[in-house]
């Protein structure tokens, strides 16, 4: 909060809301995959779609704040912002800038330095989780909706796994069935 004057805050908020609405309005149109995913073994073109990445309206686009900030590559504990992020994803060896790009904050980057968008974040995950990426492309890992013989919808890795703490969260199960004795 210190970084911006009280006057610039509403403008930034307005900008965030505007960008988020644009994302909402345009996002659910096909986020098309490039080539690799669209051809089946039989040569048939399959139109696979994914919803937009689950980006927080409070933080994205990251350049809202980071554009004017000095880049600090030093590994440190975050206190002022993003202190809610708990890194439980090979945290001993990795840090923010291993995935987020320091110079282009609205993008991610692979180990080779290639910039990739959040829409294609699966490529980043796939660097380590190769077999999972392969299964995901085949529709085996993760949920698919749509038609078994037509248009299918995928989810991105980040829709189910928080990239900072990817273990699937436990949940309360639905109630057990009634025992036969209790059925009237």
């Amino acid at each position: 909060m210190k970084r911006f004057g009280s006057k610039s805050r509403p403008i930034l908020q307005g900008l965030a809301i505007l960008l988020f609405s644009i994302l909402l309005l345009t996002g659910y149109q096909a986020v098309a995959f490039n080539g690799i995913l669209q051809q089946t073994k039989t040569g048939e073109q399959v139109d696979i779609q994914v919803p937009p990445p689950p980006l927080s309206e409070d933080y994205y686009p990251c350049t809202m704040c980071h554009a004017d900030m000095e880049v600090n590559l030093e590994r440190r504990e975050l206190v002022e912002f993003h202190d809610d992020i708990v890194l439980k994803h090979d945290e001993e060896n990795r840090w923010c800038m291993d995935c987020h790009d320091a110079n282009n904050r609205d993008m991610l980057h692979t180990a080779s330095g290639q910039l990739i968008s959040f829409e294609e974040s699966y490529k980043l995950c796939g660097q380590c989780h190769g077999p999972k990426l392969r299964d995901w492309k085949a529709g085996i890992h993760g949920r698919r909706t749509g038609k078994w013989n037509g248009r299918k919808e995928y989810l991105l890795c980040a829709h189910c796994h928080d990239p900072h703490s990817p273990e699937y969260q436990k949940m309360k199960p639905e109630p057990p069935p009634k025992k036969p004795g209790k059925i009237k």
Partner: protein, 292 residues
């Protein structure tokens, strides 16, 4: 004319006259309805019209009953990733909602078994009534079981009246109007996949799914057997079964076994797959696999 012949003829004629005079036309048609596979297309169309009107009136919203035939060159298969399932039972209730099962008495097509990791797939120690605060529970894994859509189905062989059979796309279906409720099929099924309407099914109007199939989720009556049909009303339209779409972890996979490159074929070709009670030679088309 002999006295006996006269009495026979008189008896038959008068009961027929009484039947046609006293019983309303629709009830008469329903009583005389043949089994589904003997019906002509016109007869099916007539029955569907009657059923749609009946359901629409009963539930107070427009119902559609389809008799859509199998898609050619299709044999459905199902796969469930044991390493993914967390036992949340979302599939159980998604299925109930989609398939118009009775809410009270309760009918579920899917039974989610909680098993101990140490014991593996051991039905002796399986618990379908687990009530946890959170799942997956430590040291346990989950195995949802519903109809295995066997290629060699003991239930079909057991039915004394031919009210259940395998469709060309591999779905084992029940003609609810032809079922006599003897429950022999239930005794024959080694997976406990068939459910009987012991009481009058209770399906609240606001929860009823009005998009139905004659051999699937149309409302049932008391005294008939029902089971999973891979959501015949959905899959014959090309859609995934409800449980596939409702599973939060994406453990459930469905597709055409005859289609090279389909999800189900990928699993059978690349993963470690098990079927339940293989020794019984039921040849299920429901495969369990280890995704990791």
């Amino acid at each position: 004319m002999k006295r006996r012949t006269f009495l026979k003829a008189a008896g038959i004629t008068s009961s027929a006259a009484l039947f046609s005079a006293c019983v309303p036309k629709e009830a008469r048609e329903a009583f005389l309805q043949k089994d589904f596979r003997s019906l002509s297309k016109d007869e099916v169309a007539g029955i569907i019209k009657r059923l749609e009107a009946q359901y629409t009136q009963k539930f107070g919203k427009p119902f559609s009953v389809s008799a859509k035939e199998p898609i050619p060159e299709t044999s459905f298969g199902y796969a469930l990733d044991i390493s993914r399932c967390i036992g949340c039972r979302k599939c159980v209730y998604g299925c109930v909602k989609e398939n118009n099962q009775s809410r009270d008495p309760q009918i579920h097509y899917i039974q989610v078994l909680e098993l101990e990791k140490e014991k593996g797939i051991d039905f002796m120690h399986a618990d379908m009534y687990y009530d946890r605060d959170e799942v997956p529970h430590e040291g346990h894994f989950y195995l949802p079981v519903a109809c295995q859509q066997c290629k060699n189905p003991p239930c079909v062989k057991a039915c004394p009246v031919g009210a259940t059979w395998t469709e060309p796309d591999g779905i084992v279906v029940v003609d609810y109007d032809w079922c006599i409720g003897c429950r022999t099929c239930m005794a024959a099924c080694p997976y406990d996949a068939r459910q009987f309407n012991w009481g009058k099914p209770h399906l609240p109007s606001e929860e009823a799914n009005p998009t139905t199939h004659f051999l699937g989720n149309r409302p049932r009556d008391k005294g008939v057997v029902e089971k999973c049909t891979f959501c015949i009303q959905r899959v014959r339209e090309g859609r995934y079964p409800e449980c596939v779409e409702v599973c939060p972890v994406g453990a459930r996979k469905f597709g055409n076994l005859l289609e090279e490159g389909s999800e189900i074929r990928y699993i059978l070709e690349n993963k470690r797959v098990v079927i339940l009670k293989e020794e019984l030679n039921t040849q299920p088309k429901f495969y369990y696999f280890y995704g990791t």
